[in-house]
């Protein structure tokens, strides 16, 4: 292995010089953004990061003297990451493409960051169904008819088409027995945390990810309207 500059004490690198170069580059990259020019900021930020990284890798890590194999290896792993980003970006970075659009991401961009952090009662927004978001104003009845009615039926008697398949069957809100030991608070709990929270069927899932506290309250109130009068 004659070509192998084996580790003697002699890489003939002036480490101090490289260190000071790095510091100067650091200062440039911090100062760059103060000019307020976008391309200059990007250049000083990322261009210099590449230069700095290269200096460290070549000199401190001695890649310059390492066998070619290792350069290939590191190069290949970086290329793989470029490949990954190239393959994923059309789906994740873009918010629309052929025959699809990412409504949630567009809404998030629209909403902006400040709206999100200041309204830091984050509960409200996340997971709001696309379909609901489009219909604007929240209506408990509309939500019930489009979401809950799948199993519980529009009349609330547990006869929704999807409910027919479920075991145990969905609750029948028109049944006086059902209300014998239930109150509004319990309905709120079940909608919010799922029936499992009160020892019921796991098929009734939790909706706190989809609806805000107020919306759940409104839904519960709507469910209460099914309660047969006369008790």
């Amino acid at each position: 292995m004659a070509d192998n500059h084996e580790h003697g004490d002699s890489h003939h690198v002036d480490y101090k010089k490289i260190y000071f170069t790095l510091l100067v580059l650091l200062i440039v990259s911090v100062v760059g953004p103060f000019f307020g020019v976008l391309w200059l900021t990007l250049l000083t930020a990322f261009g210099i990061a590449v230069v700095k990284a290269n200096l460290v890798i070549q000199n401190f890590m001695h890649l310059r003297w390492e066998k070619r194999l290792m350069k290939w290896l590191l190069g290949a792993s970086l290329l793989l990451m470029a490949l990954f980003v190239a393959g994923v970006a059309p789906d994740v970075m873009n918010h629309e493409g052929d025959n699809w659009e990412n409504l949630a991401a567009k809404a998030a961009t629209e909403r902006g960051i400040d709206g999100e952090v200041e309204g830091a009662t984050v509960e409200g927004e996340p997971g709001e169904g696309v379909a609901d978001a489009e219909q604007g104003e929240f209506s408990a009845q509309a939500a019930f008819n489009s979401v809950c009615a799948a199993c519980h039926g529009q009349s609330g008697s547990g006869d929704g088409p999807a409910g027919a398949a479920l075991d145990p069957a969905p609750a029948d809100f028109n049944d006086p027995e059902f209300w014998a030991e239930r109150d509004e608070q319990r309905i709120v709990t079940v909608i919010r945390d799922g029936a499992v929270a009160v020892g019921g069927s796991p098929l009734m899932v939790a909706w706190r990810g989809t609806y805000s506290e107020e919306q759940i309250q409104a839904l519960a109130e709507y469910v209460m309207t099914f309660r047969p009068a006369g008790d």
Binding site: N99, L103, A104
Partner: protein, 224 residues
């Protein structure tokens, strides 16, 4: 394929066609490989005092026996790629002019279908919502807008040979054109929780009269 399941959309036969094309090409190669494989095992079984030949596989005239079939495989690949890309382009990428648009919304564990209603326009007050029942008219081009309320679902209509995942936060558009009337399965083909197995719906493909009747019957009841 036809024997398994009705072809009920315009592109069902295309998709079956590409499956058949792959099947024929691949079947041929599989049979060829098996024939050679088992023949070699039988032909070169151990014989008393037999000794194997010393072949490195580097000699050109011997290597031909592998490289020529290999090139033929490549040719078959090209046929398959061209066929697959064409079918994909027709089904997923192009959108023929729609006669009507429906919205399909998946949630744990039901499908909600938003039909355009009498005015044939989506997102108007006369839209008809139905759960686990999709009503469409035969021989009309439909666009679907696929959405999900919670987790991933997959809108799968086997008789159409159609399948598309629903992703929360996204709206994905596609199309189909039913060609026969009848009542068929709609499945959810992406695991969506413990109720995945009950997330079944039906699609009703009706002729124009039946469909108008259905619209009329349901417009009354939902306008409340």
């Amino acid at each position: 394929m036809d024997r398994f399941l009705t072809q009920a959309s315009t592109y069902a036969s295309e998709i079956d066609g590409i499956i058949l094309l792959v099947g024929v090409l691949v079947g041929f190669w599989t049979l060829a490989a098996y024939t050679v494989f088992f023949w070699l095992i039988w032909k070169f079984r151990k014989k008393p005092h037999g000794r194997s030949e010393y072949l490195t596989g580097e000699e050109k005239h011997i290597k031909r026996w592998v490289t020529i079939p290999h090139l033929l495989v490549l040719v078959c690949d090209i046929f398959i790629i061209v066929g697959a890309v064409r079918v994909w382009y027709n089904v997923k990428q192009t959108l023929p002019e729609a006669d009507s648009t429906v919205r399909v919304i998946g949630q744990q564990w039901a499908w909600t279908f938003q039909h355009p209603g009498p005015d044939n326009e989506l997102d108007t007050p006369d839209d008809i919502f139905s759960v686990d029942e999709l009503h469409v008219e035969v021989d009309r081009v439909y666009h679907y807008r696929l959405e999900s309320r919670d987790v991933l679902h997959s809108f799968s209509v086997p008789v159409f040979r159609l399948k598309q995942d629903a992703i929360p936060g996204r709206s994905i558009t596609g199309w189909f054109e039913p060609t026969v009337t009848g009542e068929y399965d709609v499945q959810c083909a992406e695991i969506c929780g413990i109720g995945h197995g009950v997330m079944a719906a039906r699609i009703f493909i009706e002729d124009a009269n039946q469909h108008q009747a259905w619209i009329a019957a349901n417009s009354v009841s939902t306008s409340q």
